[in-house]
């Protein structure tokens, strides 16, 4: 009954109605048929530009939104609105902004303790407190600070509080939505290392959503690249970075500023012209065809689906090789 994968996402669709006239609403297709799966203890990096739907994917998996179509399976069993409460014990989320994702009126103890309260994971007050203190220790916070409020901590420490809160229910899967983007580089490295340590120690799987491509490559086993609500390429992290096959991935990776003067001066950027089209008015075929160097007639009419190019490296493009 338990499957090979911890999380399976099948043809996930998330449309938001947008009022476009007095009586008219048009669906905004934030996520349009995304499928992927994550093994236990694995990290899948999800990259893409703003507006491509990567955050929405993360939120739909946890049913912070009710998906329009498709389904998510945890350990082979489908998650529905009726049983999500139960599954939130296994799946948690760490948010981007450590400033707005913590309630300023609650002490650290209460913030970390809230998931314990919700899921009734303790028998006595004593046990609750012990659990909270051990969680704080786990993420490298000083247990003496349990009675402080969130504003008394720095950005990096707040992100640790957010992580401790996610870990409180002992989840097997965490969605990290831009969890290190708001932090300075020196602090970012501390938090990235901590994510890696926690994975080793607790065997959690991550869906690591970020726009910093160097960070994602560093932390991920596999990577999925999204463009306008669809996954255009997915595969082993090194494979995707060394041998990107989709034209969008190629230009995305070439645009990454490289922190090394010699390599940076040698590398050639494939600069994309134009902007991302509006998700309200998507091209009928491949979403990328308006900016693609190789676009043909066919691309504008048909939508390419993900096809395997060996070793689980899947690409959604008509172009061969």
């Amino acid at each position: 009954m338990s499957s090979e994968y911890l999380i399976e996402v099948e043809d996930l669709k998330q449309y938001f109605p947008v009022k476009t006239g007095f009586f008219k609403t048009t669906p905004l297709k934030a996520v349009d048929g995304v499928s992927f799966s994550i093994k236990a203890g694995e990290t899948l990096g999800l990259v893409g530009e703003s507006g491509c739907g990567k955050t929405t994917v993360g939120r739909s998996i946890l049913r912070l939104y009710e998906p329009t179509g498709g389904f998510v399976k945890y350990n082979g069993e489908e998650i529905t609105a009726a049983n999500i409460q139960e599954y939130r014990k296994h799946m948690q989320m760490v948010f981007q902004d450590p400033y707005s994702s913590l309630n300023p009126r609650m002490t650290v103890e209460d913030i970390i303790g809230e998931p314990l309260d919700v899921h009734r994971l303790y028998n006595s007050k004593q046990e609750r407190r012990e659990k909270i203190l051990s969680l704080m220790e786990l993420v490298g916070l000083n247990a003496e600070h349990a009675t402080r409020y969130a504003h008394e901590f720095s950005g990096g420490q707040r992100q640790r509080i957010g992580i401790a809160r996610a870990l409180a229910v002992d989840p097997k899967f965490i969605v990290c939505d831009e969890a290190v983007s708001a932090l300075d580089v020196s602090i970012q490295a501390q938090v990235i290392n901590m994510f890696e340590d926690l994975q080793q120690k607790l065997g959690v799987a991550y869906l690591f959503i970020a726009h910093d491509l160097l960070v994602v490559r560093h932390i991920s086993n596999r990577i999925a690249v999204m463009y306008l609500g669809r996954v255009v390429e997915i595969g082993d992290a090194d494979e995707v970075y060394e041998n990107p096959m989709h034209p969008y991935t190629q230009s995305l990776l070439s645009a990454v500023p490289i922190p090394d003067p010699v390599t940076a001066k040698k590398s050639k950027r494939i600069v994309l012209s134009g902007d991302v089209p509006s998700p309200m008015n998507m091209p009928a075929g491949c979403a990328f065809c308006t900016r693609c160097r190789y676009a043909e007639e066919r691309c504008a009419q048909e939508c390419p689906s993900l096809t395997d190019r060996g070793n689980g490296h899947q690409v959604a493009c008509f172009r061969e090789g």
Partner: protein, 336 residues
């Protein structure tokens, strides 16, 4: 002497006077900018990099004040300028573009209106000529259909387009210096690549000097002729991109480089800098970085490190480098 540099910043101190005390954001920053060069200022939040830029333009918040030091533009000290002189300086001699193109344009005026404002203020062009100039500038920065855009409002443009408009506005009066304060931080990577490319192209075409303020080591690596690394309101290190990345002489710079993932994809564990960023309300007596430095010595706690000169104008303010150089000099003497 002053001819050689277009802008010289000498021992600049800027503080903010808040309810909880004096926040010393910039503590003695010195650098020179040669005409037509690109200078990168890199540092983490709170390192004083943006405040340095704002001090040059004198656009600090009400609580902020330049306490001491000089900013020489073509040999003239602009910290002594009155308000009217400063208005002449901004836009015409030196322009700034900001991080967030969403909030730095006025939402209730058209793009054309905002672009023409600077042109009408600084040149004696009439409205029609200013309009033409504005269209020309939009074309130059690669905005498509410039005539249509002139009549549009900022919300009708995408982030990348807005940043292009900001650049057009900044360059409309052909300033000698362009300060770019995190110009691409709010943009996506592919758009960031477009904007950086555009800035380099315009720099070649128009020949202005650029001060590039950023926290992204990747952005400065390929672009800058010279880089300053700042921490706690002081300059830690100055040198070319190669000096900074390959022959770094300051522990903070080394720490920064170790804490970013390598571009070649090696899964080597990152080495973060321990501790938390410095509190500017309560600066240490010695080196600002000493509390987080692995190699800190006794002297680092009590005395501000001197500038240690290395080849080709590369210098670092670090006691460790100082000691090393002293040792090498001694060895050299003994051998002689």
């Amino acid at each position: 002497m002053s001819e050689e540099y277009i802008l010289q910043v000498k021992d600049l101190h800027t503080s903010f006077y808040t309810d909880s005390g004096e926040v010393k954001a910039v503590n003695g920053v010195t650098f020179n900018l040669a005409p037509g060069k690109i200078l990168g200022i890199v540092g983490e939040s709170g390192s004083g990099k943006s405040v340095t830029a704002y001090s040059i333009m004198q656009i600090l918040a009400n609580t902020g004040k330049i306490v001491s030091g000089q900013v020489l533009y073509k040999g003239q000290d602009i910290t002594k300028f009155d308000k009217k002189q400063m208005r002449g300086f901004r836009g015409k001699c030196c322009s700034i573009i900001f991080q967030d193109p969403m909030t730095s344009l006025n939402p209730v005026f058209t793009i054309g209106n905002q672009l023409m404002e600077a042109i009408l203020l600084h040149t004696d062009k009439d409205k029609k000529q200013a309009w033409e100039r504005a269209v020309e500038m939009l074309e130059l920065v690669g905005v498509n259909e410039p005539r249509k855009r002139m009549k549009q409002y900022p919300h009708e443009l995408s982030g990348g387009m807005r940043q292009r408009v900001m650049i057009a506005m900044a360059l409309a009066c052909e300033p000698d210096i362009l300060i770019a304060d995190e110009p691409t931080t709010a943009l996506d990577v592919t758009i960031q690549a477009q904007i950086l490319e555009l800035m380099q192209e315009l720099q070649k075409k128009m020949g202005m000097a650029i001060i590039m303020v950023t926290h992204d080591l990747g952005v400065i690596a390929s672009m800058c002729d010279e880089i300053i690394v700042m921490y706690g309101g002081r300059v830690c290190e100055r040198g070319t991109a190669e000096d900074i990345f390959y022959r770094s002489g300051h522990e903070y710079t080394k720490g920064l480089l170790r804490s970013i993932p390598k571009a070649d994809g090696s899964k080597e564990r990152l080495v973060p800098i321990a501790g938390t960023p410095i509190n500017l309300l309560n600066l240490p007596k010695g080196c600002a970085f000493c509390a987080r430095c692995d190699e800190a010595m006794k002297i680092c706690l009590t005395e501000v490190p001197p500038q240690v000169q290395m080849p080709d104008g590369h210098y670092a303010s670090c006691w460790l480098t100082y000691k090393r150089q002293m040792n090498e000099a001694e060895v050299g003497l003994n051998e002689q």
